[in-house]
């Protein structure tokens, strides 16, 4: 826009631009408007190195290799960031990494019915396939809630005989709504009543988990009975022993009661088939109605909750934050942006890849993490967020940066104990003692540092370049950036002081792996 345009023309042009702007432009406009309103100065644009590592970890769950780093940093193409994003979204690791993210959202580290649910490769594979196909996130969630495709069923297994828990989880994750308070009493600060809670539970109350096969080869069917109702007896505090309550009809959250044919009075549920066959489908499926309602374009919660969650995944905090607590008292920080993202998502048929592409191509995503303020998750998105790597990302990073590849002694269970939940009681990051012990001294970590043909330690030791160049290689490999002159000096003098270069190089790589720069995505 030039100054010679009249104000009216400018406004017109501006308004016209909005309609078909790519989402990334809307993001930047809305975020910048907030900075202006709040008097906040944004950080500088992230350097290529910062961006490269960040976007790799965010999109494919692993940092770039040494060669990818060198190539990208040297590339003079002005469109290289967009191109990198395209390349990473097309990378087979993209769907797998995003599946890991969603899998953790859906199960957490300690799902109920742990024995059946804690290892779920088939589920992750199913999820990755859906993400790869990118046939609309609405369809993905619909399939998840229908639980008919092989691999998908285990989602409900964590809620076996616990329709209320299924209700709480689905409402929280896909509707952005905290219903659990309304289980025992009307919600203290939200609009939900106990009737809303039990109305939604009614959609899950008839589900039955059927288990087939044995311990090593377990499959499930999510059957659905023709009868069974949620019973509601009022405020939990006033309940009398033995009081069962009255049946409640399923009711869509904030909407109408489900219309369904009545169950005949004398209907008797047939016994579950015992011959390893799935239960017959019910004549009327509440589950189908639920799946349709949740994922409909008109559903007032679903698209909004989803874009908010995806936004937070990349930007550190939700536009509504906490991300799963949409309610009157928790207004969005950028309402117009939330609306634009929601509309954009729905109008593009819930295209998850498109949504992610627009977010990571925005200037807001591509800000530096360094800047004023101490918030790890800046409120106005004026800096990039600093986020700890997940356990999955750390192991992938260790393999990538040390060029060691998967190592049979990684000890995944131990690794998860050390890195699975690096949070204090409030969900904020806090690395555990075992995490640091792991990094400092574990056999598992040593396996990545020890010289092995072709790995980073070996590359550095085999090289005949001056130590300065070799330190540079270690930095580019592990932290995906060039070292500062002072860092080169410190490392070179350390290595030269050591009589045995083997030990010194291992030390140097150990140090880089133990740095907080490695532990976080920033």
């Amino acid at each position: 826009m030039t100054r010679s345009l009249s104000l009216a023309a400018a406004l017109l042009a501006f308004a016209a631009a909005r309609a078909d702007d790519p989402l990334r432009a809307t993001i930047d406009r809305e975020v910048a408007a907030k900075w202006k309103a709040e008097g906040v100065a944004p950080a500088n644009r992230a350097t290529d190195a910062e961006f490269l590592r960040r976007v790799h970890l965010d999109l494919v769950g692993a940092p770039p290799t040494h060669d990818e780093t060198v190539k990208f940093l040297a590339d003079t193409d002005t469109k290289k960031r967009d191109k990198l994003v395209e390349k990473l979204i097309a990378d087979p690791r993209f769907a797998k990494a995003q599946a890991e993210v969603w899998d953790l959202v859906l199960f957490g580290r300690h799902p109920n019915n742990y024995t059946e649910t804690h290892k779920r490769p088939a589920f992750k594979e199913w999820l990755a396939k859906q993400i790869e196909a990118n046939d609309g996130f609405d369809k993905l969630v619909k399939n998840l809630l229908l639980a008919e495709q092989p691999g998908s069923q285990v989602f409900y297994v964590q809620f076996r005989n616990a329709p209320d828990d299924a209700n709480v989880a689905v409402s929280r994750i896909f509707l952005g709504t905290q219903l659990q308070c309304a289980k025992c009493h009307d919600h203290p600060y939200d609009v939900w009543t106990q009737k809303d809670f039990y109305g939604m539970s009614g959609f899950y109350v008839r589900l039955t988990v059927q288990e087939f096969g044995n311990q090593n080869n377990r499959t499930f069917n999510i059957g659905e009975k023709n009868s069974g109702e949620v019973l509601f007896a009022g405020n939990a505090k006033e309940l009398k022993p033995g009081q069962k309550g009255d049946p409640v009809k399923p009711k869509f959250l904030g909407g109408a009661e489900l219309k369904e044919p009545p169950t005949p009075k004398d209907y008797k549920e047939p016994p579950a088939p015992k011959d390893g066959k799935p239960m017959p489908k019910p004549t009327f499926s509440r589950k189908e109605k639920l799946a349709e309602w949740v994922t409909a374009a008109e559903n007032p919660y679903f698209a909004k909750a989803t874009v908010n969650r995806v936004w937070a995944q990349f930007m550190g905090r939700g536009i509504v934050h906490p991300i799963d607590d949409f309610q009157k008292e928790n207004e969005p920080s950028h309402p117009a942006l939330l609306k634009a993202l929601t509309d954009g998502f729905v109008n593009n048929k819930f295209d998850l890849k498109l949504l992610i592409r627009e977010i990571v191509n925005s200037d807001a995503y591509q800000l530096s993490a360094a800047g004023p303020g101490r918030e790890a998750l800046p409120k106005h998105f004026e800096r990039a967020r600093v986020r700890p790597l997940s356990a999955e990302e750390i192991i992938a990073s260790l393999r990538t940066v040390t060029a060691t590849g998967p190592n049979p002694n990684e000890g995944w269970d131990y690794f998860l104990r050390a890195f699975g939940e690096p949070a204090n009681g409030l969900g904020e990051f806090q690395g555990s003692l075992s995490e640091h012990l792991f990094l400092n001294n574990s056999e598992h970590l040593r396996a990545f540092v020890r010289r092995k043909k072709g790995n980073l330690t070996d590359q550095v030791l085999t090289s005949t370049e001056p130590w300065e160049a070799r330190v540079e290689r270690m930095y580019l490999s592990v932290l995906n950036r060039s070292p500062k002159p002072k860092e080169v000096e410190a490392f070179v003098s350390y290595i030269k002081r050591e009589p045995k270069p083997d030990a010194a190089v291992e030390d140097a790589i150990w140090v880089l792996l133990n740095s907080s720069e490695f532990r976080f995505n920033h």
Partner: protein
């Protein structure tokens, strides 16, 4: 050699000798941290209070061990005979003779009530059910103690959980919940120990590494001054733990005389059912840990969910239990720790008076037992009683939360105090109604 890993661990000595690394498991006197020296200099007579809690996963049959009903209805009373104990008028079951001999050092609660039929350690460790504890984000009592009293020694954690990970998840110990990671138990399993004892490099070398790390880790200092990164309080502690061998030594039962180890009975790290092993070495480790400065040590012990074959199973498994627990109790006394160290042994719930068709007993949460010793408590007594079927508490019903209240009191913590969570909000450590058991004071 250090043998805390159990016979089956792949970290047993010799298996993982690193070729390139200077293996330097610290010998005695190999290194003493200034902090460690200070701590040791101060170590005169220990007055610090601590607790060893043994959790009997699965729920042990109360009427076949500590509350026999020889005159009860024939179809309920089971096969075992009562035997006299060192306390006049008190009888135990015939398969816990060693405990019977030290009954004067025990207080047996026979009328524990209020537990829910729940296969979990949560009632023992949080004084509430697993559901409620999860919903309310209730911490393990060990975390409460760690939060309120901190460490007695910079390299010895306040709270160590020796329970090996059990297959039935709720048997495993609850976490620190709203008290944050700083108060989480240090778990002692194969890998965790290996990390603490198999040194990749010598401590001096480790300090060199650390110095280099500190010189380069600008991220932690500058950009890393965000609230996320700086909350990471374990960075330095990990080094301290690695450069001192105190904790690892405490776990090394081979440092005890063969006589002592024999007295405890060795047991095995092999898990029973989906519960805990009967690994008596861990009871000895627990004693060594509290002597080293731990305030809370928890051990899951055995598997007692005897729905079938109750009597044969108990006959087979009680002797090792009897040996281990009686050894612990006697050892605590022999070492003059009876006023400082509380021993508490209990499980999920009692078992049905009725013997089922499989000669088993099912879950029975109406009444349960607990064994207590040390902690300056009045021992040599039985508290409460049950009816003739051992099915309901008769005299002096003791709500189970009162056991934790007693434990807190013995540790010098007011059970009605508040504990401050990570965001400095006060939380009652126990339900208001819980109070220490009068008869023990």
């Amino acid at each position: 050699m250090l043998n805390v890993l159990g016979p089956t661990s792949r970290y047993c000595d010799g298996v993982h000798r690193r070729s390139f690394l200077k293996v330097g498991a610290l010998g005695v006197g190999g290194l003493t941290l200034p902090g460690l020296m200070r701590a040791e200099a101060k170590a005169g007579k220990r007055t610090q209070k601590s607790v060893i809690m043994v959790y009997l996963s699965g729920g042990m049959a109360h009427q076949d061990t500590f509350d026999l009903k020889p005159n009860g209805p024939a179809e309920l009373k089971g096969e075992f005979k009562p035997i006299a104990t060192s306390v006049t008028g008190v009888q135990f079951g015939e398969h816990v003779p060693k405990l019977a001999r030290c009954a004067d050092k025990l207080a047996v609660i026979r009328s524990l009530v209020g537990q829910r039929d729940e296969h979990s350690s949560w009632q023992s460790y949080t004084a509430t059910t697993m559901d409620a504890a999860k919903r309310e984000n209730k911490p393990h009592f060990g975390s409460v103690v760690a939060r309120m009293q901190g460490q007695t020694d910079p390299v010895v954690p306040a709270f160590v959980d020796l329970s090996p990970t059990m297959q039935h998840k709720p048997y495993n110990s609850p976490g620190p919940a709203l008290l944050g990671r700083a108060t989480a138990p240090v778990k002692v399993e194969g890998e965790e120990i290996a990390v603490m004892k198999n040194f990749a490099v010598t401590p001096d070398h480790l300090r060199d590494r650390k110095a280099l790390l500190e010189s380069m880790d600008a991220f932690r200092k500058t950009a890393g001054q965000t609230n996320g990164v700086s909350a990471d309080t374990f960075h330095d502690r990990a080094f301290d733990v690695l450069t001192s061998n105190k904790l690892v030594d405490a776990l090394d039962v081979t440092k005890e005389s063969p006589f002592v180890r024999q007295r405890y009975g060795f047991g095995s790290s092999r898990h029973l059912g989906d519960g805990a092993p009967q690994w008596n070495d861990q009871l000895l480790m627990a004693r060594r840990l509290v002597e080293a400065g731990c305030r809370v040590v928890t051990v899951a012990y055995g598997f007692w969910d005897t729905h079938g074959n109750n009597f044969k199973y108990l006959k087979d498994h009680l002797p090792l239990f009897d040996t281990g627990i009686s050894a612990l109790v006697e050892d605590i006394h022999a070492r003059g720790l009876q006023d400082d160290v509380t021993v508490c042994v209990w499980g999920d719930f009692g078992r049905t008076p009725k013997i089922n068709k499989d000669a088993g007993r099912d879950h029975w949460a109406r009444v349960n037992f607990a064994l207590l010793s040390g902690g300056g408590m009045k021992t040599g007594q039985v508290i409460g009683s049950t009816d003739s079927a051992a099915g309901e508490a008769k005299d002096d019903p003791i709500p189970y939360a009162n056991v934790l209240a007693t434990v807190y009191k013995n540790l010098g913590i007011d059970p009605h105090a508040m504990v401050y969570d990570v965001s400095n909000r006060p939380n009652p450590i126990l339900p208001g109604a819980a109070s220490p058991i009068d008869k023990l004071c």
